[in-house]
């Protein structure tokens, strides 16, 4: 049941993307408002789907938060992107940010729901995942990923918008907010992951590919924040670095699965 509800979200987010696209083409605010309403509808469905999956997990006698396998992480990543879109781009960004954010949220859901290689079943936890740190680590990391994704979306728009610094003002502010939020959340995710690794594997850091790539992502965004401090405000260089950082986020999440390590999704 939960997979059916979650699969439907793919099409709701896809519809919002098309409506945002219309908003950009037509320049009419009505389309952008409709797009945001569709996003809210999808977000409610997705939240309900996640809650239902958690409930069904308890019904099956397994009873764990739906954050433990690749399918569940994709769903949560998509949910986090939609949440941060609603938080950061609700008022100011009109349809433009939705054109970047919502197809990604939709694609993540499509990959989770329709890829034949992804197991959508609720599985019991392996011993290493049986920890209270699972929820806090995964939630903070994925919210961090989503905030970095939003920062890079704002970065792309910032680089696209022509004109003076003032014209880019609100985009720059949102970029900075999402960059800082992402940095706090991702740092929290790395720290909680280290504490968990200390208990589960007996060491807080082991240069596992996932850990190393998480550090790479963290270093890139730390550098972006220092560039922001040096330049005095969000500049083209900062925007470029957030876009560069997105590549690292994607590799940290997807690419590392192709490297041998303790974090690879099974």
């Amino acid at each position: 049941m939960n997979t059916t509800v979650l699969a439907s979200v793919t099409f709701i987010y896809l519809a919002s993307f098309l409506v945002f696209l219309m908003a950009e083409v037509s320049g009419k605010g009505t389309w952008a408002r409709s797009g945001r309403m569709i996003v809210i509808t999808g977000f409610i469905f997705q939240t309900a789907g996640i809650a239902l999956r958690w409930f069904e997990s308890h019904q099956a006698g397994i009873g764990h938060a739906p954050l433990s396998n690749f399918f569940e992480s994709l769903v949560f990543f998509s949910w986090a992107v939609a949440l941060l879109y609603l938080l950061y781009a609700w008022k100011d960004a009109k349809g433009l940010i939705g054109v970047f954010a919502m197809p990604v949220a939709s694609l993540l859901m499509a990959y989770a729901s329709f890829s034949p290689t992804i197991d959508t079943r609720i599985q019991p936890l392996i011993p290493a995942l049986k920890s209270n740190w699972l929820i806090i680590h995964v939630v903070t990391c994925f919210l961090g990923y989503a905030a970095f994704f939003m920062a890079s979306s704002f970065g792309i728009v910032f680089l696209m918008v022509k004109g003076s610094q003032e014209n880019r003002g609100s985009i720059g502010d949102m970029l900075e907010k999402s960059l800082k939020t992402g940095f706090i959340l991702f740092t929290f995710g790395i720290v909680t992951g280290s504490v968990w690794a200390h208990y589960a594997w007996g060491r807080y850091w082991g240069w596992d590919p996932k850990e190393t790539w998480a550090l790479i992502t963290w270093l890139i965004y730390a550098a972006a924040i220092h560039v922001r401090i040096r330049d005095g405000s969000v500049s083209r260089r900062v925007a470029f670095m957030t876009v560069f950082g997105l590549a690292s986020v994607l590799f940290t999440y997807f690419g590392v699965n192709y490297l041998p390590g303790l974090h690879s999704y099974q």
């Binding site: 599985q123 019991p124 936890l125 392996i126 011993p127 290493a128 049986k130 920890s131 800082k180 939020t181 940095f183 706090i184 740092t187 929290f188 720290v191 280290s194 968990w196 200390h198 208990y199 589960a200 594997w201 007996g202 060491r203 807080y204 850091w205 240069w207 590919p209 190393t212 790539w213 550090l215 790479i216 270093l219 890139i220 730390a222 550098a223 220092h226 560039v227 401090i229 040096r230 490297l259």
Partner: protein
């Protein structure tokens, strides 16, 4: 002395520069990428290698995270943070308790009032006190009211950089510790640790594995691994504890975690010989020397259930002619009864193939050995403290706004001139409306 000070300050400024920080961070990004792209060799033991080999190892990219290419920039990053903290004292001077009114970004209000400047400032102080922490002082003879919020943000860079330094210090101290594994068969004791670099060390106490258990879910997936351990110090039982995944134990400053296990099936073999019957308990790899002939029997494989025919052991017997292979099944009699002529077709199943012996298998049992992760890390407290400081620092830095509102009043021919300056995070900002609208009917506002 002056030249020395200049040199000292130039070095500090160079070390604390943002350009250096950014360069180092990006260099570390590059090295980390190399560390995941180039296959990394395990850490090598350094005790028995020459200095030249040791230096070559430090320059090698096959162990990036222990190479000079990674360690030196990391140390410079720590110095960069330390220099920032040192120079941060100067930045603090800008935030001293009684700052002068800034020259730029002032909002001026001309008030047609008979009140004296002190009275007007006092009124503004009451207004500001509702939302700000206020102080009153004089600047060039004029009274100044300062309202301030979020002063803690001023200390955020110090907290963040202190956190980084503590993390790096803790990571450095970690090199003084050791990591490794210890394998203990159930019912046995050990103090022999295989370190990450392959060398062997002995703990000052012994660990006995009383039991090792694996619990399973209904679908066959393992749900828990549990080792029951006793730490033995000077032949006294000093502590009994359970170690599970996510539930390590600590003893003598060393962390013991459930790292894995090894499963060793053991065959109970019976060998009939002219001089009587011998019994052996044999694990894979064991070599048994037979009485009477002196033949060596190597136990090649022990299986609990081979091809659904039950317990089985594969033996290789060194005879003078040639090595002979034997597959001995526990249920040989019933297998042979079900397949008449089997021994003729497949002589390697004949328990009496090698004269004058007759082999039989009485059973196969599983013997577990727990594998514990060993970690002694003297820097972990520093890393933990540094991480907490860093998190607190960035939360303060990114979430708290340091706001100051400075108000002064002076008498002028046109009336009483009130000057207002508002700074957010050190940058000029427009005064809030509620301050400008206090005397709206009598004000002439000019920014």
């Amino acid at each position: 002395m002056g030249t020395r000070l200049l040199w000292h300050m130039r070095l500090l400024k160079g070390l604390s520069s943002l350009r250096l920080t950014i360069g180092l961070l990006l260099w570390l990004v590059f090295m980390c990428i190399l560390g995941t792209v180039i296959p990394q060799l395990p850490v090598q033991a350094t005790a028995d290698v020459s200095m030249a080999t040791h230096v070559a190892g430090l320059l090698s990219l096959k162990d990036v995270f222990h190479s000079l290419w990674f360690l030196v920039p990391t140390i410079i990053l720590g110095l960069n943070a330390a220099a920032c903290m040192y120079l941060w004292r100067r930045t603090l001077e800008r935030y001293r308790a009684e700052p002068p009114l800034p020259r730029a970004g002032l909002h001026e209000i001309t008030m047609r009032t008979a009140d004296i400047p002190e009275k007007v400032c006092s009124d503004f102080k009451v207004i500001l006190a509702g939302t700000h922490k206020t102080v009153q002082y004089e600047d060039g003879g004029d009274p100044v009211i300062m309202g301030e919020n979020g002063r803690v943000r001023v200390y955020a860079p110090f907290i963040v950089h202190a956190g980084i330094i503590l993390i790096l210090l803790g990571a450095g101290l970690g090199f003084l510790g050791y990591k490794g594994t210890i394998e203990i068969p159930v019912g046995q004791e050990s103090n022999t640790v295989t370190l990450a670099n392959g060398s062997i060390m002995h703990l000052p106490f012994r660990i006995k594995c009383e039991d090792f258990k694996i619990d399973y879910y209904e679908n066959g997936m393992p749900s828990e691994y549990r080792s029951e351990l006793t730490f033995v110090q000077d032949n006294d039982l000093s502590m009994h504890t359970s170690v599970l995944v996510n539930h390590p134990a600590s003893h003598g400053g060393i962390l013991f975690s459930q790292s894995g296990f090894n499963q060793n099936p053991v065959a109970a073999l019976k060998v009939g010989t002219p001089s009587g019957t011998s019994r052996f308990r044999a694990a894979e790899g064991l070599i048994i020397r037979l009485k009477d002939t002196g033949y060596n029997v190597r136990v090649d494989k022990v299986a609990e259930d081979l091809m659904r025919m039950g317990p089985c052991v594969h033996l290789v017997i060194e005879t003078p002619d040639a090595p002979k292979e034997l597959w001995i099944f526990k249920e040989f009699n019933s297998i042979a009864a079900a397949h008449p002529g089997l021994v003729e077709k497949m002589p390697q199943l004949n328990p009496s193939l090698v004269t004058p012996y007759t082999f039989s298998l009485e059973g196969v049992t599983n013997s577990y050995a727990t594998v514990l992760g060993i970690n002694r890390d003297p820097g972990i407290v520093f890393v933990g403290l540094g991480s907490m400081l860093f998190l607190i620092g960035i939360i303060i830095s990114f979430m708290v706004v340091h706001e100051r509102v400075l108000i002064t009043a002076t008498e002028a021919p046109s009336g009483l001139v009130v000057k207002i300056a508002r700074m957010k995070n050190g940058k000029p900002a427009a005064p809030e409306k509620y301050i400008l609208e206090q005397e709206d009917s009598s004000l002439e506002v000019r920014s």
